[in-house]
């Protein structure tokens, strides 16, 4: 038995773990103790991350759809069909009729090549990935507020915070090893303020829990700021020295008295005041947020509101003090850094900036399109409209992870050609013309970047199963067949190329990552990496910007027909659409089926008892699930996880999107519940 050090394939925390390998099989896991991302800790998914690898469902051969059925094929045949079709469709409809979906589950190296394939070979900026479904409001919002959109602090700074403000984050279930740090902060005496519609485990240890309705974050945050400014507790010198547009903020928060906010949020005015006073007195204070605020039609504005609060109180640019979006996927940070995004090149350099574009044209040897491309949200919409004709989707399952999956179905059916690259068959792949089998995280080398901007090595423990190939090689094969040479002798050369083009990765190379990875910005070979951003109030954009933001309700509000707010989310034991965790016996055994969380009083009124079957319906569809009757959720609100493919919560959610970031409003739509 040998042990291979790699990084966890689940969430954005990026825990380092050893895979135990015996007889060419991965047979177990232990955590690394010395690596700082997790310091010896793993959550239940990490401890069991070995078990899905050898599942009998693994795709082991390319598949081609012939007369409606998938047949096994050789790589040459499959790749020939892929190249031929993309070439044909590009010629017939133009480069912008094509699109590539990179993957937040795959390596930096693969994502870099995927966006290069789209830009240099297909000739389009239609490249995006699943960050769109969760944190693109973070990128969009924090770029506007601070100049750059990433977690400002490092995990190890959290235990030393005097205060933690967590809004829209269920860290105990979604980021357990960051929750460990919050737990430690509490053990060290920190005060915790939590804003969440549910009584999560995080809310249980909070000093103040603000239980607001989904979609009312702006009103709540504006009210906190109103109280702080009225009590003269804001950081005037920080504001004067480091920010712009303070008057815009004060004008807008004038009307958000605690009483006004109570009428919108359902949180008692007195509690809002108490929270504001507590918040203002805690320094250093770490603001933490995730999808509870981003997955809304006001997602970008919600993020800017949190940034407003942080700038107002000087809680950014210091050790243990900042704005910390916890990134979801193992490499969503990296996929964004590598620019599997429609409007930037690697390192967040805009495609419509002439000087930048010339640099990439010189590096890649071809002219590049100056027009920002479509997001995955809009590629789906335009596929239905007939403008997008062909897609290459890598490691994503929009038929389960996009809101209102019926509209995704129409879009995929309308495509002329679809290639899906995956490790397991899924609902999206069923629509494909060609399916290409990728290698799991255990079967390839490369790098992932975690939520604290730490670029870390993943290492190959076993060979790819069957005929599966590492994803970066598949992208190269397609590119080569389309006449653009991608010849890398080994994977580290790809990171060297990235380093030469993206200043924030400038000093990154595989050798420098051996010991403990590197946190970007890391501009050159001598630079040790960066623990926290915007030090001394020097923001990436110079001065931080306040934004005047008004409350706007969710796109679909409740009415007499659909009186509940349905909000969706995640549990500890499962991961996203369940591709891997439903195939891990220890995890699936904990929660083998879908359910809906409903308040005691609501359940009693409807005659629904605990574990009994009930029907949850929205204007998009209905599901029969069992009821989890609890006091952890407010009356009038119900909650459902989206992990169960046979009862997919996104059948119910609404395809309403943040106009700036194009992220779906997974967290609020109108529903009704009936006893079965």
């Amino acid at each position: 038995m040998k042990l291979v050090l790699t990084a966890c394939p689940y969430c954005g925390t990026g825990c380092n773990l050893y895979l135990k390998v015996a007889d060419k099989r991965v047979v177990g896991v232990i955590p690394s103790v010395s690596r700082s991302a997790n310091r010896g800790h793993l959550c239940v998914k990490g401890w069991n991350a070995w078990e899905f690898i050898h599942h009998s469902d693994r795709l082991k051969s390319p598949l081609i759809k012939i007369r409606g059925k998938f047949k096994e094929a050789g790589w040459d045949d499959a790749l020939d069909i892929v190249a031929r079709n993309f070439k044909k469709i590009k010629k017939k409809y133009g480069p912008d009729s094509l699109g590539i979906w990179g993957s937040a589950r795959c390596t930096n190296e693969m994502n870099y090549l995927a966006q290069k394939l789209a830009r240099a070979v297909f000739g389009t900026n239609n490249v995006d990935h699943c960050a769109r479904t969760c944190h693109s409001p973070t990128v969009a919002g924090l770029v506007r507020s601070f100049g750059s959109g990433a977690m400002t602090n490092s995990y190890d700074e959290i235990p030393q915070a005097a205060g933690i403000f967590a809004i829209g984050s269920n860290a105990p279930e979604a980021h357990p090893i960051i929750w460990w740090r919050i737990r430690t902060a509490k053990d060290n005496g920190a005060k915790i303020i939590v804003a969440d519609p549910r009584k999560t485990k995080l809310a249980e240890i909070a000093d103040i829990h603000l239980q607001h309705y989904p979609g009312t974050d702006i009103a709540l945050l504006n009210a906190l700021m109103h109280v702080i400014v009225k009590a003269d507790l804001h950081d005037k010198s920080f504001i004067a020295r480091c920010s712009l547009d303070f008057e815009k903020l004060t004008r807008v928060i004038e009307k958000y008295t605690p009483e006004y906010a109570e009428s919108i949020t359902g949180v008692p005015a007195g509690l809002i005041k108490e929270a504001a006073f507590l918040y203002a007195g805690l320094k250093p204070l770490s603001n933490i947020y995730t999808l509870g605020i981003t997955e809304h039609t006001t997602g970008t504005e919600n993020v800017m509101s949190v940034a407003n609060l942080a700038i107002l109180t000087g809680n950014v640019g210091k050790r243990s003090s900042g704005v910390n979006p916890l990134r979801g996927q193992n490499n969503v940070q990296g996929a964004c850094d590598m620019a599997a995004l429609p409007d930037v090149y690697p390192g967040y350099q805009r495609v419509d900036n002439d000087e930048i574009r010339r640099k990439f044209e010189a590096a890649w040897g071809v002219p590049l399109s100056p027009n920002p491309g479509l997001t995955v949200t809009d590629m789906i919409i335009q596929a239905s409209a007939g403008k997008i004709k062909a897609l290459y989707i890598i490691g994503e399952d929009p038929m389960r992870s996009d809101p209102n999956i019926n509209h995704v179905k129409k879009a995929l059916e309308n495509l002329e050609f679809l290639v899906v690259q995956e490790i397991f068959m899924n609902k999206t792949a069923e629509f494909a013309d060609v399916i290409l089998p990728g290698a799991s995280f255990a079967e390839k080398d490369g790098t992932f970047t975690n939520s604290e901007r730490r670029i870390q090595r993943i290492r190959k423990a076993i060979g790819p199963l069957g005929k599966a190939r590492p994803d970066w090689k598949i992208v190269c094969d397609i590119s080569n067949r389309l006449g653009y040479a991608m010849k890398y002798k080994n994977i580290s050369e790809i990171m060297d190329e990235v380093a030469s083009l993206a200043p924030i990765y400038g000093g990154v190379s595989f050798e420098r990552l051996e010991e403990d990875g590197l946190q970007w910005p890391c501009p050159d070979k001598e630079h040790p990496g960066t623990k926290y951003l915007h030090e001394n109030g020097k923001f990436t954009c110079g001065l931080a910007k306040f934004h005047a933001i008004k409350h706007r309700p969710p796109a679909e509000e409740c009415d007499s027909e659909y009186p509940f707010i349905l909000t969706t989310g995640r549990m500890l034991f499962h991961y996203n659409v369940g591709t891997m965790t439903r195939r891990t016996p220890a995890l699936n055994r904990e929660y083998p089926d879908n359910f809906v969380q409903i308040n005691f009083n609501d359940a009693a009124r409807l005659g629904i008892t605990n574990n009994a079957a009930c029907r949850v319906a929205t204007r998009r569809g209905g599901l029969k699930v069992r009821a989890d009757v609890t006091d952890k959720i407010k009356e009038g609100v119900i909650w459902m996880p989206f992990h169960f493919t046979e009862a997919p919560a996104n059948l119910l959610t609404k395809d309403a999107f943040c106009p700036i970031a194009r992220t779906g409003e997974y967290k609020a739509c109108a529903a009704r519940v009936e006893k079965c």
Binding site: L3, V27, G28, V44, W47, S56, P176, R183, D187, A586
Partner: protein, 332 residues
């Protein structure tokens, strides 16, 4: 009990020879941390370490085992070098467990061809508390070979038939010993002082758990912290709970598997109809403490914990098994 001496130089030579005719498992440092691994080169073995992140239990009990595999027992014998007293004693507990009602064939098919060379500790590690649970730092019995560092070499004790056979095989490298070296060994062992932080009375803990002396608030605090990661149970060298399932290996093959389980998972004791007699985290934690510190003492005259301390390192709830036991010790 055979008593011998081996120089440090000769030990390296011996391990090099073992690699040629057996699978050797030894501590190495491939990524800056000490791990047990199959070793190909004797030069890569480390001798100065507290303990490895993983325990040698990995070679004795796998996460998943095909119970019906009728392959013949290991052709190549397995030698584990560098196991600490706590890890060796834990494997001894597994030996007792898998023989308690009948001798488990799958377990012993592997176990019988494994020889363990225990390396006695010279001091307590940061998380260690073996002295409080009779788990070390030095064993008086229940081992194949035990080496105690006495300067230029090791005092070697052999306490099993398997060990005697091994000694004969490498007799060229192993010397006879005498009273002076034996005294050095005894002195070294006497000099290992257990730190106060690692000290508790197992007898008292046994009584206090059995009589449920710890208040509800104690269990409630632990239950709030526990993240049900299962890590403490999956990394424990003394844990052996398992479940049996049929696992689909391929389109044509289904295997009857013994899979290691963890008692902090709800599914561990949930019944087929959905009812769970041990449903809350609080009850699950009580069960673990009871099993390891009362029940196994009753049955095997050995605690289900040998004080290796790994569970303290990996707990993301800051539960701290040792501190919790010390708190139970103090309740009157």
């Amino acid at each position: 009990m055979l008593e011998k001496y081996i120089s440090k130089q000769n030990l390296k030579k011996l391990l090099g020879r073992v690699i040629k005719n057996s699978t050797l498992v030894a501590p190495v440092r491939p990524y800056g941390e000490v791990l047990f691994e199959d070793v190909k080169f004797a030069d890569s073995i480390v001798f100065d370490f507290e303990n490895a992140l993983n325990s040698p239990k990995d070679w004795v009990l796998l996460n998943d085992e095909d119970l019906l595999e009728t392959a013949s027992p290991q052709k190549k014998p397995l030698v584990i070098f560098g196991a600490r007293a706590c890890d060796t004693k834990a494997i001894g507990l597994l030996d007792k467990f898998f023989a308690r009602t009948f001798k488990d064939p799958a377990y012993f098919k592997k176990r019988d061809s494994i020889l363990i060379i225990t390396l006695a500790c010279e001091n307590y590690g940061r998380n260690c508390f073996c002295g409080s649970v009779d788990g070390g730092p030095y064993l008086t019995d229940g081992f194949d070979i035990q080496l105690t560092d006495i300067g230029e070499g090791y005092f070697l004790e052999a306490a099993s038939k398997k060990a005697e056979g091994f000694i004969k095989r490498y007799s060229g490298l192993i010397k006879n010993t005498g009273a002076a070296q034996k005294k050095l060994k005894e002195d070294n062992i006497k000099n290992i002082k257990q730190p106060e932080e690692a000290r508790f009375s197992l007898e008292n803990v046994y009584k206090n758990i059995g009589e449920e002396k710890a208040p509800d608030a104690f269990w409630k605090d632990l239950a709030q912290r526990c993240q049900s990661c299962g890590g403490c149970l999956l990394i424990c060298p003394a844990c052996s709970c398992f479940y049996v399932t049929d696992k689909k290996i391929s389109a044509k093959k289904i295997a009857r598997m013994r899979s290691l389980d963890a008692c902090y998972y709800e599914g561990f004791s949930r019944m087929a109809g959905g009812y769970n007699p041990v449903a809350t985290r609080s009850l699950m934690m009580r069960r673990k403490f009871y099993h390891k510190l009362v029940q196994q003492l009753d049955e095997f005259n050995q605690a289900g914990c040998t004080g290796c301390g790994r569970c303290n390192e990996i707990c993301p709830g800051n539960v701290n098994w040792l501190e919790s036991i010390k708190r139970i010790d103090k309740y009157v």
